[in-house]
């Protein structure tokens, strides 16, 4: 059975939404993701375009300004909810891990 779209977020999806808590354009999103993850995660322009398009269609972000070829976006309430749900999911994962492995082994 196909998984519902955005039920879980991939790393690029997560960081793109995280970057869009403040209004910014596509080029800035790529830079912010790199800075947020210290270069661990990078989002290519092709991937970014498709994800922004999908997020917009799903109502998770909205276009705020178009200046020439430059477009700016901002996360919507629905996008925040999705981001929050993903955070709780990741948190649950780490809590489960801790419960299984134990604090001592983690250190």
């Amino acid at each position: 059975m196909a998984r519902e779209k955005f039920q879980t977020l991939t790393e690029p999806m997560f960081y793109i939404l995280l970057s869009l808590r403040e209004e910014c354009c596509g080029a800035d999103v790529m830079a912010r993701v790199g800075a947020l993850t210290h270069g661990r995660v990078s989002v290519g322009p092709g991937t970014l375009y498709n994800l922004l398009d999908s997020f917009q269609q799903a109502g998770m972000i909205r276009e705020t300004a178009v200046a020439g070829r430059k477009r700016s976006y901002l996360i919507t309430d629905k996008g925040r909810e999705t981001l929050e749900a993903e955070y709780r999911r990741l948190l649950a994962l780490t809590e489960d891990y801790k419960a299984c492995i134990g604090e001592e082994d983690l250190s």
């Binding site: 596509g26 080029a27 322009p45 092709g46 991937t47 430059k70």
Partner: protein, 455 residues
Amino acid sequence: MKRAAYRAETLSPFDLQGTEEHLSAMAAQGWRLESIGRFFWKYRPAEPAAVHYAVTAPPAAGEDGDLGDRLYFEELCAAAGWEKVTDWAALQIYANGAENPVPLETDEPLRLETIHQSMRRTYLRDRRNQLLCYGGLLLLTLGQVFRFPRAHFLSALGLALPLFCLLSLLGEAYAIAGYFRWLRRSRRRVEEGGVPAPVSRHYRVLSRLSGILMVLLFLAQLGTLVPLSRPSGWTALVAVLSAVCVVVFWLLDGALKRRGASREIRAAAGLLLVVLCLLPAGFEGFRPFEFLDEAGAPPSYVWNGENWDLEPQPLPLTVEELTGEDWPHVRRRTVSQGRTPFASETSYSEAASREDGTYAYLSCAVLDAPNAWVCRRILEDMLKPSQFFLFRPEEPGPWGAEEVYRRFYRSGEPCSEWIVFWPGRIVTLYAEELELTPERQAVAGAGLAPEEEPS
């Protein structure tokens, strides 16, 4: 200073990895891709360098989408250091000269699905349409072969067309199957965290072979346009006209593309030019080209207002042999009507005149078809009744033949035309102003019968 290089590449549009690696290798050798035309990829010379290339499916533009989306996509790519090189059907190729650039696509499953959507809109749609087109053409041409076996078994073009359609049909089916096999393998690979699968080596080889085959078939088809009986002037004429058509096709397509003409208009223009390219076949009886025929005419003299041969060529049956009388003025012609591995036909004609002005005309078309089934189908085709004529069987004994038929008007009046059948040979004999008595039929049969195979 090196000039631009043009190469006929056989890369499939979904051969992402192969294309990117090939272009990087070309850049390392000092050749940067500049544009992709209908037939050739154009490379410009540059300093050898390590350049990364990426094939991607941009958002639809023009008739199918918003141009603003396409421009925004290009802006995003430029911001990441990826400069657009050229469009490739619905895809785009980007280049990046940085040492370790952020890949243009960082989500392989997403990239694969985007490419697949693009292929569905373009590559697969075109392949499917061509598959249906070739399938229809194959049925049509095969139907024609069975409806008019004589014309088709004598024409290399007539026989080549069904073969061409069949090979093209198989080629399209193979291309579609190859694409879905690649898609299945790629989906499995990206699910496992890898990149889309490379296109298999034998698929590339077969693509190259099919391209060569298409060129050979096209040349073969052009060759068949030259009438067998015509001198070399016709060959040159057909070659020049075909070359002109190809150049015009190229220029026209480029001009239409620059003006943003739709695919349908460009395809229609291309089809029109293909028809023009095939037109020389219809020029055979066209008056302005008669001088080409005259170039091959034998030396002659004028008598009684007509040209007659100075050195008459030998024929399998002459008026003189048939009548046993002297005919001092003769004009003879031999014309090959067609030749294929299944059948060949040569027609011989002779106009003869005596000094007193008595005139006779004799023509015979000798058709040889060694295969009994083919020979029988051709005979049946030739005996088909028409609106005004029909054939009736006659006694073959005097001819020494197996079967003989004479042509009659539907009113019942006989014509001066016979079809004489021996196994492997069919002769159509037409005698004007010459009564074919049983004795003369025996002479004709003896002259036209196939040679006995040595036992």
